[in-house]
């Protein structure tokens, strides 16, 4: 039970060297950032499981874990993804899409949640199969990630308190304290157009929940928010509203690590099937109460449309 001092002194250096080398092994691959192979996790020492190279035989190559589809979201962006306060489960439009896709591909679904600032970074490091918080496939992001076909379209609008409902929104923000979600494209829009918009100050928040609390408390006067998210919040909360013009219409798609074309194509096939048989339209009705045109490609410069099949 009690190890003698001398024995300990002999074993210790070995233990230290082993643990240091284990930590050093994987770090080179993970810190290389935008890795081109799906094998970021396989550079770790032999003791670990889940190498992406020996992928699922079930027809979807490149899975992080065999037989599972790991779809990460923030859980802080309703109605796309939110954590149900009663069950603690993640629910939302994108979660339902993920469920349907997983079913069609014959895979088990796992839905971890992380803060937005960590979501794409974790995807880049190969921790997840898909990132699906309602992501805008901007040209810049398309350099670092692969995207599926769009699963909805949306825009950016100013979310305000109910008393400001008729206000100018983005048209005129003088004297307003602006807010948004840290690291989001809606935030980028605010920061890049600071002079044109003319707001007094800007604060970033970790997620929609914190941002809305800040809005209600009066910490900020207008949030730069996704149109569907802002609309959902206004419908469900009498204290909230939207104001002013909607700008920058754009699609939302699922994000994949670079190099995962086969995985992306399999998911695309499932999404196409969902549009064809009306599943997507049903989900839209469920979460948005209306049908939203789903573009057929991610390039905003070119015109697009497809309407999901089904009546709305």
């Amino acid at each position: 039970m009690v190890v003698s001092l001398r024995k300990l002194q002999r074993v210790l250096p070995l233990v230290l060297v082993l643990s240091l080398s284990a930590a050093g092994c994987g770090s080179d691959s993970t810190s290389s950032g935008k890795s081109d192979e799906a094998t970021a996790t396989t550079a770790a020492p032999a003791t670990t499981a889940a190498p992406a190279a020996t992928a699922a035989p079930a027809g979807v190559p490149g899975l992080v874990e065999e037989g599972k589809l790991i779809v990460v979201t923030t859980g802080n962006f309703p109605p796309f993804t939110a954590i149900d306060p009663d069950s603690g489960e993640v629910v939302g439009y994108t979660i339902d899409i993920a469920k349907s896709v997983a079913e069609r591909l014959g895979l088990e679904l796992e839905t971890p949640t992380v803060d937005w600032v960590n979501e794409l970074e974790g995807l880049a490091q190969g921790l997840y199969d898909i990132a699906d918080s309602g992501i805008w496939p901007t040209p810049k992001r398309q350099e670092s990630f692969l995207f599926s076909r769009p699963m909805t379209s949306t825009g950016i609008v100013a979310q305000v308190r109910a008393e400001d409902a008729g206000g100018p929104g983005f048209a005129d923000m003088t004297g307003m304290k602006a807010g948004g979600i840290q690291g989001s494209s809606q935030e980028a829009y605010m920061l890049e157009n600071a002079d044109a918009l003319g707001y007094e100050s800007y604060s970033g928040f970790a997620g929609a929940g914190e941002a809305l609390t800040a809005l209600k408390q009066g910490r900020v006067d207008a949030l730069s928010q996704d149109t569907l998210v802002a609309g959902f919040a206004s419908v469900n909360d009498p204290e909230l509203a939207v104001a002013g013009p909607t700008v920058l219409a754009h699609p939302l798609s699922l994000a994949f690590q670079l190099g995962q074309e086969a995985k992306r194509d399999a998911v695309n096939a499932a999404l196409d099937a969902m549009i064809a048989d009306g599943t997507l339209a049903e989900l839209q009705k469920k979460w948005f109460n209306t049908c939203i045109p789903v573009p057929d490609h991610n390039n905003q410069e070119e015109p697009y449309t497809t309407m999901p099949a089904g009546d709305c």
Partner: protein
């Protein structure tokens, strides 16, 4: 992973340095004042003051600092609009009250360490109360209080990193932003760790210096 990238990130992270320092200094000032008040209350002859001080101490030593910060930032505005602090001051409020709960113990142990017998002896020798405090109580109290006091101060400096969670743009937040934007992990963290180690080592040297001045090392 290269040393160059680490060196590249140090200046970016250092942009948050002054915020860290200001967080630390303000919290130090407020917590020392509050700690003194709490300590005096704790040894007061008025029972209710002792009780309140004891309660506050138990409360703020028993809850994680992170929760206190969330409370200061999210919950206080609900109680009253005038309590709506921006992230920096919410962090100062949280840090100050948390540190004060510990400093009050350090200060209190310093004050009560001086035995009663010395008070009676000084009376017998005909010393005035002020003379007694100045020449006998304070030097001994300081000797007892300084080590835990500085220990708490160093802790406060390290805990400023939590302000990142309520979006204060101090060093840890900046490092985290680098991770999520550049997708590099080791370099920004090592740069951050390096800066903190320099800071805490400096504070440790201050602590050693002060101990020597007060001749605490026997």
């Amino acid at each position: 992973m290269s040393i160059d990238t680490i060196q590249e990130y140090v200046p970016i992270i250092l942009k948050g340095f002054w915020i860290t320092v200001r967080l630390f200094l303000w919290s130090l000032i407020f917590s020392t004042v509050a700690g003194f008040i709490l300590a005096l209350m704790r040894i007061s002859s008025v029972a209710i003051l002792r009780w309140i001080s004891g309660l506050i101490g138990w409360l703020f030593r028993g809850i994680p600092l992170l929760l206190i910060l969330f409370y200061a930032f999210f919950a206080l505005p609900e109680i009253s609009r005038s309590l709506m602090f921006d992230p920096f001051w919410a962090a100062v409020v949280g840090l100050s009250i948390w540190t004060a709960a510990y400093q009050s113990e350090a200060i209190r142990s310093g004050i009560i360490a001086v035995e009663k017998g010395q008070f009676e002896a000084s009376e017998a020798l005909g010393m005035t109360k002020r003379h007694y405090m100045r020449r006998i109580v304070i030097p001994q109290s300081i000797r007892i209080t300084v080590p835990p006091f500085i220990g708490n101060a160093i802790n406060t400096m390290k805990q400023t990193s939590l302000a990142a969670v309520i979006t204060v743009p101090e060093m840890t937040l900046l490092a985290r932003q680098i991770i999520s934007e550049d997708f590099k992990v080791a370099e920004p963290l090592l740069a951050l760790a390096f800066i903190y180690l320099v800071l805490t080592t400096l504070l440790l040297m201050v602590q050693l210096g002060l101990e020597r001045i007060f001749r605490l090392k026997v």
